[in-house]
């Protein structure tokens, strides 16, 4: 550990990360650094490995080869006598504290009301006193515009409201990196805006690094410091939003973007 803050050091560092399912290789030797507080949008056709990339960092999926570092520390491995060995659950538990994730399908806890959805982990994982957790949760729920729904159950909320609760639930844990995996893909079109607005607001505030997997190109352009285009399990192109959207280099990115424009903003799915 070092105490002096070196902003040059990435908060997340993927090194030669590959992932295979059976004999299908989903990710091919991915290298990717995310700087502290950096907002990285990930775009690409479905099946290109975007979700898997995020799930590896959230420890929901184990890499087949390669390493991931978070805050300069290995995520999935430990070094024992100079050799890398699979880390134990204890280590993963410690490392996960840095990472948060919002899912496409919200995954709220249906048996808990909204307030408890958001306070449960601060109380039982972070060990905060209840009053403090409630205060933190209420502040966050107000920020996402749900201060009046504390007692409601998830089944009584709209998709957009559910997703905003899920965002608040992840934020109260105060991770250094937050993963957003197509968080508006399961929403009715008229509810997409409210969720994106909340994320933009959080992004503006700043401190936290974000990986935003999205099919909303305007949103990616507005929020991201850097855009990454994945296809077939590799990072085909990356650059500033300006470069990616206005001056795409690779034919695959050009084709992807034109398909989007043709399909009135929505990719034509398989």
């Amino acid at each position: 550990m070092n105490n002096t803050r070196q902003t040059a050091d990435p908060i997340v560092r993927y090194r030669s990360i590959s992932k295979t399912f059976g004999d299908l290789t989903i990710l091919h030797e991915i290298d990717l650094d995310i700087a502290p507080a950096e907002k990285v949008a990930v775009i690409g056709p479905s099946g290109s490995g975007k979700t898997t990339l995020a799930r590896l960092l959230m420890t929901l999926e184990e890499p087949t080869s390669g390493t991931i570092e978070v805050n300069g520390e290995l995520l999935w491995h430990k070094r024992v006598n100079g050799r890398l060995v699979r880390a134990d659950e204890r280590h993963l538990h410690k490392m996960r504290g840095n990472i948060g994730m919002v899912f496409q399908h919200f995954n709220l806890f249906p048996h808990m009301n909204i307030l408890r959805n958001v306070t449960e982990a601060p109380i039982h994982v972070l060990g905060l006193p209840r009053e403090e957790a409630v205060e933190r949760a209420v502040t966050m729920l107000e920020k996402v515009g749900l201060g009046d729904k504390l007692e409601a159950y998830p089944s009584h909320l709209s998709g957009g409201q559910k997703q905003r609760v899920a965002i608040a639930r992840a934020l109260v844990m105060r991770p250094s990196v937050m993963l957003f995996d197509e968080v508006t893909s399961a929403l009715d079109p008229e509810l997409v805006g409210e969720v994106l607005a909340v994320i933009k607001e959080i992004a503006r505030e700043g401190e936290m690094a974000m990986m935003l997997i999205t099919h909303e190109m305007d949103f990616a352009r507005d929020v991201a410091d850097r855009v990454i285009f994945t296809d077939g399990g590799t990072i085909v192109e990356e650059g500033s939003p300006e470069q990616i959207f206005h001056d795409p280099q690779s034919p695959r990115l050009q084709a992807f973007l034109s398909r989007f424009r043709a399909g009135s903003g929505k990719e034509v799915m398989r």
């Binding site: 929901l60 659950e89 996960r96 994730m101 995954n107 806890f109 449960e120 982990a121 159950y153 844990m173």
Partner: protein, 216 residues
């Protein structure tokens, strides 16, 4: 023919016996609730040996009659130096027997919890234990409450089998009354009525509980 005075006369004795029946049912069921959960966990355990052993126990217990299990516990164990009173042997037998069934019920409940719930729990960094107690089990148990309740009633109705290991439960009492007085009609009818009333009342209670829990 039916005699009301005789029915009144034997009622207290049957009501005393019904207490034994209820106590054995509740204790056996409590044991089965815990044992079934432990078996369900063992069944899902990572070490293959543990999960296979649990599967074996479940299969074995389910494929042998409760009566045989009770005989082993009551008449067999003493030769291994363990003698249990009839009530304890009966409760243990019911508990073990129904554990095997409830393990499968728990399993179906656990499997009904979507994968996303596990993933959200991981993303929020809940420990394994907290994930089970706070996220998974509350969701797994809610939908299986009717089935659990049904097993409680099935178990209750099966308690007469405990008379085979000399436990004086309700039916045994009715039979003793009958053979002492040569009047079987009242004793058996009353015993049947008591079974019916208690089963019916429990099923109403379970339905209330169920609808209360599924309101959300």
């Amino acid at each position: 023919m039916w005699s009301w005075p005789f029915a009144w006369q034997i009622a207290p004795e049957l009501l005393r016996a019904v207490q034994t029946t209820i106590a054995a049912t509740l204790a056996g069921f409590a044991l089965a609730l815990v044992g079934g959960l432990l078996l369900a966990f063992a069944r899902r355990a990572k070490p293959r040996g543990v999960s296979l052993a649990a599967a074996g126990v479940i299969e074995f217990v389910r494929s042998t009659p409760l009566l045989v299990q009770l005989y082993v516990l009551f008449y067999g164990l003493p030769s291994a130096g363990i003698s249990l009173p009839p009530f304890a042997a009966g409760v243990l037998g019911l508990g073990i027997h129904y554990s095997a069934y409830l393990a499968e019920v728990y399993r179906s409940g656990i499997e009904s919890v979507p994968r996303g719930q596990w993933e959200a729990a991981t993303a929020l960094n809940f420990s394994r234990r907290q994930t089970w107690t706070r996220i998974i089990l509350p969701q797994a148990i809610r939908p299986i409450i009717p089935v659990l309740g049904n097993y409680l009633i099935v178990m209750f109705k099966e308690t007469p089998v405990l008379s085979a290991i000399t436990l004086v439960e309700m039916l045994m009492t009715a039979k003793m009354i009958g053979s002492a007085s040569f009047r079987y009609l009242e004793a058996f009818t009353l015993a049947g009525m008591l079974f019916f009333l208690l089963s019916y009342a429990s099923s109403l209670l379970i339905r209330r509980l169920e609808s209360k829990l599924t309101q959300r």
